[in-house]
Symmetry: C2
Subunit: 291 residues, 2 copies
């Protein structure tokens, strides 16, 4: 169990929503295998694990929100026999995992409807919600403009996926954003976290793309599940800094290499939020995911 | 002679002003060694070489303007004996080379005065005028924030120079511009070309830095000699595209790699132009270099 939590704590491959689903799967598995002999004992043990999972990824809103929702529903389950409680807990976790997957599909459909046919769509970084949108958009004959997204080149990974689907894809350096934004019908980015005022935490460079899009009057859409939203303000937000070795630049005395991985895009630069609950043009209308 | 012109045509190491000075040195050398026996013959030959030099680097305004100025002054020289004409032509080339160097020094002094002491100065790409400014600024205890400037990492070369001078230098990816611009007291960039309306052609990403600076009310200065100015409008400007291999990303079928090397920053985003003729807050006041 400790090993499995450690794996989720160190995972750099998957997005926050995927890790929330994996956390729920881990909890469901423990509900089935726990040696607990009473309903109270089982629920206490699972809550402890759930809290540990949330502590290991404090900056991942979906882990907080989906696991938190699961915990709040756990106490409402009828506590009769531990043997009959186990499958109900598993079903609850499965239901939230499904809900999370359906949210992505709902967002992808709405994004495709907003963007329309034969459009050029530009994005930055690699968002699973944006990937799901492109999976529908490829049937609509879109082209893609993808930024490299230094340092880890998530954009190059996305470009390979899109081109494998037959989407004509242009890959540019992050610095060329201002040159290409005007060729797009719309910009669609994902979000790591939505803040209380509607600001968006996403891979560094997202703010620059939003500024360039506003300058040229290109719609800038954020495709994000509402369970990525937290009650923190931009001033309270912690922007993770990662190791300078990711920059692949030779260190040199006197040079400080910085690798802040995320930046914050303020709501006035966002044309609309595409969520599983609907499309919101105003940050003030954007709902919280209620636990 | 053809070889020397070819070297200047293919030079990727030096900025436009440096290449203009090298062109003048080459012309001065030819003025001394040409087998021409008459003043008219010598001037005709030199004009042909000057035209060829200008044709090889059509997008480099300093080559056009400084070599053009030299040509226009050439015809005013007293044409008596070819032996006495030669040193006058050499002196004319030397005078323009000196004038070009003095322009850089004048700009660097004004930049240092504008920026003041103990400031954090942010820049993008590698400009010899900005380097000259930092040479003065290092005595004023400044810090530097330097962007990587993909694809060729000119910013990394600059950071090494600045740190070797003892300037505390922070190096960031281009995508982090929005995160660091607010830490700077001023942004100072060079220019490849100034357009008729005061727009600036510089390394791709300059526009994004200007947008981020405006967003956070940080002064955005362009340090540039007036002989980088041309009469072309932004619509007429040609932005050089370079080979995709510079991106160091593995090519993939279906992915088009683009490497447009320059972008255009419009005058409304520029707080001031720092030139050898003075500091201009309005693009409309910015003088042309008169040939």
């Amino acid at each position: 169990m400790k090993d499995e939590i450690a794996i989720l704590a160190e995972d750099r491959e998957h997005g926050a929503s995927e890790l929330a689903r994996r956390s729920l799967a881990l909890l469901a598995n423990r509900a089935q295998t726990s040696p607990a002999t009473s309903c109270g004992g089982l629920i206490t043990e699972l809550n402890l694990i759930a809290n540990r999972l949330r502590q290991t990824r404090p900056s991942m809103a979906p882990v907080q929100n989906l696991v938190g929702r699961w915990q709040s529903l756990l106490v409402c389950l009828p506590q009769e026999e531990v043997a009959s409680l186990r499958p109900k807990i598993v079903a609850l976790a499965q239901q939230l995992q499904d809900q999370s997957q359906q949210a992505v599909t709902a967002i992808a459909r709405q994004t495709a409807a907003l963007v329309g046919r034969s459009a050029t769509v530009m994005t930055h970084s690699l968002s699973s919600t944006v990937v799901a949108s492109f999976k529908i958009l490829k049937e609509q004959g879109v082209n893609a403009v993808v930024t490299e997204s230094r340092p880890l080149q998530e954009g190059y990974r996305l470009a390979r996926q899109l081109s494998a689907w037959g989407i004509a894809t242009t890959l540019i350096t992050d610095a060329q954003m201002g040159l290409f934004v005007g060729k797009a019908k719309a910009i669609v980015v994902g979000a790591d976290t939505l803040l209380n005022d509607g600001s968006v935490i996403n891979k560094a460079g997202t703010l620059l793309l939003a500024l360039a899009a506003r300058r040229q009057n290109i719609p800038f859409y954020v495709a994000s599940e509402t369970f990525k939203r937290v009650s923190a303000s931009p001033a309270q937000a912690h922007l993770e800094e990662k190791g300078p070795e990711e920059l692949a630049l030779e260190p040199q005395p006197g040079i400080t290499l910085r690798n802040i991985y995320f930046d914050i895009t303020p709501p006035d630069l966002i044309s609309a939020y595409i969520t599983e609950q609907g499309v919101y043009r105003q940050a003030s209308e954007l709902p919280f995911f209620t636990i």
